[in-house]
């Protein structure tokens, strides 16, 4: 196992990239989807299952973990890998995004952001330095700079102010991170939907020679076309031989379109959250198991799936569990969704290696367009 953090591009097909990130804790095959393990648990899953689905890396949320159980406590308990029993790579966010979306009474200035916990009202301060310190206490393998992410649509001046602040915080984060062999800190490109701001952000971050680059501030309310156009404008500015992580994205279609444009890494709560709400992602598109059409359907969700939850249980049983709000419904559908996401990533990786990504993309889209199998 390597002692260094490296990224190797193994193949490209159009703009789609097949790579590998190696770290002391393991290798991440890209394009990669990272299941979200908010509070040290991927909701309703055993992490053994998450691993068995082909997950090389999971994500932890600084905001949730700093509140409960607390970063210093996780450190005393041996770090997040030991705490959650996941010995493989972990990426953490900086906490900034959730502070903006969840916390109360936020006050943001040059120094950082103060906020009150949405759980018990305790006041916390999060600065670029403290965020990196927390991620270090968690023993995170890939850490994120603190940034300011704003919702779209927004005024150019506001987007520019937040982008410039995020660049200054990137400098402070990089300094706080220092030299951690085998680990990486990624800078985050901001700039909303304004092309020249995105390009300026990407250029300035590229000049810092960081180990990887995140694209932040997308999938925050804008149409998919805006997101994809932003990727097309931004990615050419980033260094080719560094991993590119599109934060918080997305639907299976978002993943397919973004890999086609050169993204290497994703995280999103969609597969896990949708699973807890009775929705399944599949090669037939999105399926609502709450729908009465499934009540008497003895067929599995997808008989060709390698996932036991999709292949072995009847749609009628899944429907019943969802209708009854039974825990097993969320467990099985989360399993189904993460399996589908990881199968999609594996399919994309294989297609890029084989130089047939465009065909794979077209076939996958055609499957979604055909929709679900006919009712019984």
């Amino acid at each position: 196992m390597t002692e260094r953090f490296t990224f190797t591009l193994q193949a490209t097909d159009g703009k789609a990239r097949r790579g590998e990130i190696t770290m002391p804790r393991g290798t991440v095959r890209t394009p990669a989807f990272m299941p979200v393990g908010t509070a040290g648990t991927v909701k309703a899953m055993y992490l053994d299952q998450v691993r068995d689905l082909g997950s090389d890396i999971i994500l932890g949320n600084v905001y949730h973990l700093m509140l409960r159980p607390g970063a210093e406590r996780v450190a005393r308990l041996g770090g997040l890998h030991e705490f959650a029993r996941w010995p493989h790579p972990i990426l953490t966010d900086s906490g900034g995004f959730q502070v903006m979306s969840l916390a109360a009474l936020r006050k943001l200035d040059e120094r950082g952001v103060t906020f009150k916990s949405h759980i018990d009202g305790t006041e916390y301060e999060l600065t670029p330095e403290r965020s990196i310190e927390i991620q270090h206490l968690l023993d995170s393998d890939i850490q994120m700079q603190l940034d300011e992410c704003i919702r779209l649509p927004a005024e150019r001046a506001e987007i520019e102010r937040a982008m410039e602040l995020s660049l200054r915080w990137a400098e402070r984060s990089a300094k706080a991170f220092g030299d951690q062999p085998g680990k990486a800190m990624f800078g985050i490109v901001q700039g909303g939907d304004v092309p020249d701001l995105r390009i300026r952000s990407a250029e300035r971050l590229a000049a810092m020679d960081l180990k990887g680059y995140s694209i932040g501030g997308l999938a925050v309310g804008e149409p998919q076309a805006v997101m994809l156009k932003t990727l097309e404008e931004t990615l050419p500015v980033l260094p080719e031989h560094k991993p590119r992580y599109l934060m918080g994205v997305g639907t299976p279609d978002d993943l397919l379109q973004s890999v086609a444009r050169g993204i290497d890494m994703f995280d999103c709560v969609m597969p896990t959250r949708a699973g807890r709400h009775g929705l399944a992602y599949s090669c037939f598109g999105k399926i609502n198991l709450r729908n009465a059409r499934h009540a008497d359907d003895h067929r599995p969700l997808d008989e060709a799936s390698a996932c036991p939850a999709a292949r072995d249980y009847s749609r009628a049983y899944l429907h019943h569990l969802v209708r009854c709000n039974e825990a097993l419904g969320g467990m099985l559908l989360t399993w189904i969704n993460l399996a589908y996401y990881q199968d999609l990533m594996a399919g994309m990786r294989a297609a890029i290696e084989a130089g047939r990504f465009a065909d794979f993309k077209a076939e996958t889209e055609a499957g979604w367009a055909r929709g679900d199998i006919a009712p019984l």
Copy 2:
């Protein structure tokens, strides 16, 4: 595999009995604990896990299943075993107990009970014949007569009326059940805490020569001593070579005390329900994982357990999951509790075989009395 329903007593030790129930779908080693699979799912568990813990049989609730997904639907889908993916024996209750505890606007008369669903207000009728029909539609291996279970304390006249009604319903249930090779219908002894009524109920049921006998109407509010005294008075009246099932019981101590008095089968929601509320049953007694003493405790709940959830995860992590109301907390603690219950049953079976049940009982009680390991 046998085609008949048989019960064989293999060993006794004092009044404790070690037996085997054989049925076409499998063998149940007694004394047996049956995890409760209310609506076709043992809450927060995969049934593979439930099986791996040593469960030979699970319980399904007629009341819940007749409401959702409906008995006729389950039958069309191949029966409850196929529906829930549990090919092993299933015992069903008659629905009567939950009608009394959950349903609205009940009306009980000689014919049966009418009630409105607690879910959507739909009116249903449950008679002894309909209950057996539902259990037949579910393809249940061990079926229960419909009975009237009343809460204690109650007046003698009321207890006697319900007991006599239950006896008449036992006759009707047995007639409705008819001859189902490989399956059984159990009668249910009622009579509250009144010795002569219990004895009359047991005698009259014994005279019907049923395949097994349940003790109902206990653990409904009375002290444990009353329950155990009732068992001591009732069990000698029942035929020795038929299985005896104590319904809805109980704590690990209830199980130990009741096996000592000659009970063969149990079901209870305690291990599953307690697990979802942060409580663990263990050889150290009952442990509340929500308690702050566990917050920094890197030790597992029970390092000697064969259950991965009890052996491999830290108390600090379990505490964190419970505090955050994470699904995995309920999943791990339910697993821990069912593992402990099944380990306790396996321990009792081995002890009876070895003629050292009294020693096993004393050792187990001493472990509970010592309590949890000292805080760090």
